[in-house]
Symmetry: C2
Subunit: 370 residues, 2 copies
């Protein structure tokens, strides 16, 4: 893990300024002499800069996209210089709500400024400058990471050769926003939230975080994948125990476990910030709702868009909206709709057809390197 601190304040979409700020990041592979082989990987809700590999002192801590990124892998770090960066507002090292607000000397908490996908990209661009990279061979992300990849192509088309958007959408649907809002309400109304200043009370709003994560997991999995994994099986029993509060079904045990785990490591204020960044992302809005007009800004960037058949969080229809906007602009775009059973989570899994598409695309990107 490395860190870079930027003294000049960042002007945020909200009108607020943030700075100095620090970004933590990791890199894999070697930057070539022409500085032309850099690929930026943007993370989604609960991930970080730790994209690939294992730490010597924590060998169980495998990078979140390690099946895709590494030597000989579809995004081959023998050929590319891959950068994983943690976003502003996170709880994994970059400047965020758990850090000290210079104005008060206390943790930012809920006073951390609201950051948008575009703000993250602006911060990332400074990191790319700092690394001496003028133009990225590719920017890549899944889900919320795919929104950052889109925002890169829209804000800095001259700095991005290829944009790879996986399991993403051009904006959240009303239902997506609704699920985010329920999760936020669960957190904010937890008495241990203390208006976002729970650090001073030595507690975390664990109840709210658990509920938020349980909702999340339902939307990450397909109905069929849940059915196949848990069905209606009882937890350690053949017959119902007739209880409203005990665990009865295996799926309940799974969800409670996921909730408990999440509440143990994730920051509640970060959760609020990141879900809001998701809600706000909507590049078409500044163009009268026309995504095609928005994508006119991405001139010269080549795209790969990937979706998964059973993803009901960001369904293939949402990816096709992006593809259509690109086609309307006569952009170069490849589109793959992968028939996979795992729902939204598929983008993190090692599916042969999916990884085959990614490998082929990055081979093409490598072939174009200066």
């Amino acid at each position: 893990m490395q860190r870079a601190t930027f003294e000049a304040p960042l002007h945020l979409r909200s009108g607020a300024q943030l700075g100095p700020y620090t970004l933590v990041y990791e890199t894999y592979g070697q930057l070539n002499a022409a500085r032309s082989n850099a690929v930026l990987v943007c993370h989604a809700l609960n991930a970080s800069h730790h994209v690939a590999g294992r730490y010597a002192d924590a060998p169980d801590n495998v990078g979140w996209w390690d099946n895709l990124v590494g030597p000989g892998k579809p995004l081959d770090t023998d050929r590319f210089f891959v950068i994983g960066v943690n976003n502003l507002g996170s709880c994994f090292g970059s400047t965020g709500p758990t850090h000290t607000n210079p104005a008060t000397g206390q943790p930012w908490g809920a006073d951390f400024p609201v950051v948008t996908v575009e703000d993250w990209v602006a911060a990332q661009a400074r990191l790319i400058d700092h690394l001496g990279i003028t133009r990225l061979a590719a920017v890549l992300g899944g889900s919320l990471g795919g929104m950052q990849a889109q925002a890169w192509a829209l804000a800095h088309p001259e700095r991005v050769a290829h944009c790879v958007v996986v399991a993403s959408a051009p904006h959240l649907s009303t239902q997506n926003i609704a699920f985010n809002e329920v999760a936020r309400r669960a957190i904010v109304t937890d008495p241990d939230f203390h208006d976002g200043h729970f650090y001073a009370h030595g507690v975390v709003p664990a109840r709210g975080l658990r509920v938020a994560r349980m909702i999340g997991h339902i939307t990450y999995l397909s109905d069929d994948a849940m059915e196949a994994k848990f069905g209606r099986a009882f937890q350690g029993a053949q017959e119902p125990g007739y209880s409203t509060q005990n665990i009865e079904f295996q799926v309940e045990s799974y969800l409670r476990h996921q909730g408990e785990k999440f509440a143990g490591y994730f920051d509640a204020n970060t959760y609020l910030l990141i879900t809001r960044a998701l809600d706000y992302f909507d590049p078409a809005r500044a163009h009268g709702g026309s995504l095609a007009r928005a994508y006119a800004q991405a001139r010269g960037v080549e795209f790969l868009v990937v979706s998964f058949s059973t993803d009901w969080r960001f369904s293939p229809l949402r990816s096709r909206e992006i593809v259509k906007a690109l086609v309307d602009n006569h952009a170069r775009v490849s589109y793959a709709e992968i028939d996979a059973p795992h729902g939204h989570d598929a983008f993190l899994l090692d599916d042969a057809r999916y990884h085959g598409v990614m490998r082929a695309y990055f081979e093409r990107v490598a072939g174009q390197l200066a």
Copy 2:
């Protein structure tokens, strides 16, 4: 509203006994001389015995299925004697968690016995006895009510001429159970739940109830219906306000309002009981998982099954499972899949094609009356 008290205890599926118990109910229309024109309407999660009409002293309190049930309506109370009954465990009058536990002299709270769909039907059957009705012209229900209608046909086929199952399923999917579980965890982990004995503390677990209801509303509406109703419109503004806690999008205002309203009138222990009744319903389980074998018990009953194209809570595929099990048994079954945009909520709405199907079916039932 009328009430009937039953002295003999009810033997519940869980092995517990409940009694004496009281059911509150309403009737509409006149029982004919042959006592052959009775139709029982079973309610879903948050409804009650108040199926149709308005109360003289509360004219805004319209019955929950008033668009379907009344003089000249699809279920015509000029021809049928319609019975609406409130289920055990409810908070609308029948014996439930807010009532006194005779063993303690305190409200039952979380100690109210777990009741199943089959238990409800057993209790309802006694009410039908009490009303002097041997055989129902029809039993009718939507969603969870449709599960009760199914359980009637399976437990008492000789007492049911027609079974009308609307927007229902032969059992909850894993995803359905998962949503119920998240809602329950939100309630149970609310500090104001007090292990289900919050009445004594003069509080209600309003935070949990709000979250539960918000989740519910997302699953009742189709993605498209939410999109059409709210889209991504901001609440009273053209631009985002950049806040994680304030209402930004209209859909958030809607959900918060629904949650607030629900927390003001619904009992948390009832919510737990009713969602568990949903979870447990699975008539195929006692038949090695074969719904067809289960439905062999419903000999002689005629069925109407109705589903709605955009219902993702209980999709048309779930209704087709019921239809297939009936066809496998050479039962008489009509099936209508209504193309309607409103999702699960469609079963409560006045849709011309839907109500046309219901009217035609009940005319057929009326034509068969003795």
